[in-house]
Symmetry: C2
Subunit: 452 residues, 2 copies
């Protein structure tokens, strides 16, 4: 592609990552008002902002050193009051299963928190190198992160035919392959699944916990899409709740790191880069090490405040409550509608099939690519789904992510198609998801007819 | 110390780190207004904010994906327009020596940027392990960062009797000690010096560059206090300017990484965690690696916007110009007054001496501790200056940093006494620096009389 080359489309849609604001999803007003007031406290001098916004901002500024978001956190874990707020949120969410503030550790985004833990796990060379059981498909940044931390990716395949469910026998099989290859010390779980949208049930979670206990594995559980389970059939259950309810020996022995961030469907505040992890049963010496690892540095203040607001949204009776709930409901409805609509549409196309998402913001349709494309890809030295995505972007101006980035290393090529396209409806012309789907159909049919 | 124990002081002063807001220094209004408006664009709907603030916020929002600070940066380097703004700032500062936007890389704070580069330099074990020439004293986070990246700290001593100047013979001496011990691949420079306050002159910089060239060392140059040279005698000259003006072969060959952040004296926005590095002459393959290292992740948006504002403050004629200049001038005057006052005060105490700072926000007085204290420290298994600082905090409620954290491993014990105490005057009672100094005198004299 040449700079300045004419294209048959006026606007590019990037639906290749979970970034709702990019495609026009609006932020939640309450959180933005609170953060703006914390940055510029002169806004607290009159009543242009709602009274609960001003109260919240004052509370948050009170826990910043010197009353300013410009001061460092005193500790690398974060601001104690926000740790407490998060712990209370978790306890409430999990029906009273208590979370302790000192187990909450902030970071500049989920990837930073994960990177920290992965580096702590890392060790050995050759046969003693640390391995991590990793789902396939997995979040597209995970393989790079494992690689960067010198960890061996030990893949376990999720079952597409069962809606991308996790299969215990497959975990055992994957672990067996590592004898003499590496020392597997952790298992990574994404629940609800990124990019699959699968929601694990309690029975599966219990099985995984028993498996982790018997194999002495640390549980690394990413639970970002906990706020976006679609429909009424499934419900999010956290690994920590199940673990602590299983009782001893599990509740006292299995090491668990649970990861969450501001990049939920409802918040979508990816650019703020805020995340936290809750660490349970971790060796105190290791726990202490997390606090002093200089690589992490003192975590930024504003994302911590944002996480605090996420964990403690407006309550009934607060002046911002109605607006907040309307905005949240609007996101939920849009997401739910778009997920269904896009899945039906994709399944209506020839040589394409898609498992309905139970949660999250991604669809992950299977591409049954014609031989002509796979041969062309081989000639060019790229994965066939990368070629598909590159050509789709060049010809139709829509950016989708190639499935090979999600750790797929077999012959089944996938793309992640993000529901955020549909979330566009809220701010951008409601036709945005339709536009993406229409362009996809147009490109896909043209591709098929040129090859078959 | 017991929880709830009664203390003879009402307020604790923490002057142990370069964190001006913590001790009551106010932020610059313009930057806070712009960031607040970017977070909550409804503030742009009326004229409650100055017109140049609103214009700036609109310009910045235009370069955010989807017009929201909640979207990811498209690249790990950062937002292209802000890269351009920074490059223009550097070019202007250096009298026209051109900086290229593509050489500017954002990160979540200076430590993150440095950590990234240190990990790229890291390699080898035993005799082939990478070493980094490191000033003593150095910024107190540096030894931990080197250690975390598995790098060998190769100390070179700065000359206290010459105002903490860098000595070329000492660099050669330090390098000779590493034969058979490690492979030294980089030299770390802090200029103006943290914590020494020394400002290097052009001749020294040229010598260091020639030394780096002849020994094939990467120059890692931290220049955070470039905005706070005190008095008229010294002037900040950047390493990059000198390097590029030296001409070939130096200007085309010596690899340089220059680090800057929001933690300047004037901004003091430590809690935002924003930094950037300019990389010059770096191998393109290495440069590419920085862009994809997942450990770094997409940098947060707000700190990038703040850096953009720092690099392009209000101009004469802008509606915020007068206020902005008054605020900046106020910081400069307070800093300058306090630096002089505190230095005189410290030099007036028995068994204490302090080199006047030429720049930056730290004083670094020498403690001539009595034998009783050093013996007590030995019994307790701590460094004598750690004991001094612990007791000062417990007895007088003032937290200063022990010099041993700045890489001092000899018998000359130092504390960093931060000028930010003085900056308190702006917001807190003007007596705040005096309070710290008074408590220090009281503690120090009591300590001496109990030991001697």
């Amino acid at each position: 592609v040449q700079q300045g080359e004419q294209k048959p489309f006026e606007r590019v849609y990037d639906v290749s990552s979970g970034d709702p604001h990019r495609v026009g999803m609006p932020p939640l007003t309450f959180i933005r008002q609170v953060l703006a007031a914390c940055l510029y406290p002169d806004l607290l001098k009159d009543d242009s902002l709602p009274v609960d916004v001003r109260q919240r901002a004052r509370t948050l500024l009170d826990v910043c050193e010197g009353g300013s978001v410009g001061s460092y956190s005193l500790t690398y874990s974060g601001i104690p009051l926000i740790q407490k707020t998060i712990a209370e949120f978790i306890t409430r969410r999990d029906g009273g299963v208590e979370s302790k503030p000192e187990n909450i550790i902030f970071s500049s985004g989920l990837e930073r928190a994960l990177s920290l833990v992965l580096h702590l796990l890392s060790g050995g060379e050759g046969q003693t190198r640390t391995g991590v059981l990793t789902p396939v498909p997995c979040p597209h940044t995970l393989p790079m992160q494992l690689d960067e931390a010198h960890l061996e990716q030990v893949s376990y395949q999720l079952l597409e035919e069962q809606g991308w469910a996790l299969d215990l026998a497959e975990l055992h099989r994957a672990l067996r392959t590592t004898r003499g290859r590496c020392e597997t010390r952790a298992i990574y779980i994404s629940n609800p699944g990124n990019p699959t949208g699968h929601v694990q049930d309690r029975k599966t979670i219990e099985e995984v916990i028993r498996f982790a206990a018997s194999e002495s594995l640390v549980l690394l559980v990413e639970e970002v899409f906990q706020d976006s389970v679609l429909g009424q059939e499934k419900r999010f259950v956290s690994y920590r709740k199940v673990l602590l309810e299983m009782g001893e020996p599990y509740s006292k022995r299995v090491e668990l790191v649970s990861l969450h961030s501001l990049c939920t469907a409802g918040m979508g505040e990816c650019g703020l880069r805020g995340g936290y992890m809750e660490v349970i049963n971790m060796d105190p010496a290791v726990r202490e090490f997390i606090n002093i690892l200089p690589c992490s540095g003192s975590p930024p203040i504003l994302p911590q405040l944002a996480l605090g607001v996420m964990a403690s949204p407006p309550s009934p009776g607060d002046s911002s409550y109605e607006t907040f709930m309307q905005e949240v409901l609007h996101v939920e409805r849009t997401l739910s509608h778009n997920a269904r609509r896009a899945c039906e549409f994709l399944n209506g196309l020839p040589r394409m099939s898609c498992v309905p998402a139970e949660a999250g913001i991604f669809l992950y349709p299977r591409l049954d690519l014609p031989l002509g494309i796979t041969e062309q890809a081989q000639m060019l030295g790229v994965e066939p789904d990368v070629l598909f995505c590159q050509r789709f972007l060049e010809e139709e101006g829509v950016c989708v992510g190639p499935g090979c980035e999600n750790g797929q290393d077999d012959d089944n090529f996938h793309i992640r198609s993000a529901k955020p396209t549909a979330l566009i409806c809220v701010l951008a012309p409601p036709a945005a998801l339709e536009e993406v789907l229409t362009r996809l159909r147009s490109f896909h049919l043209r591709l098929l007819s040129s090859c078959c």
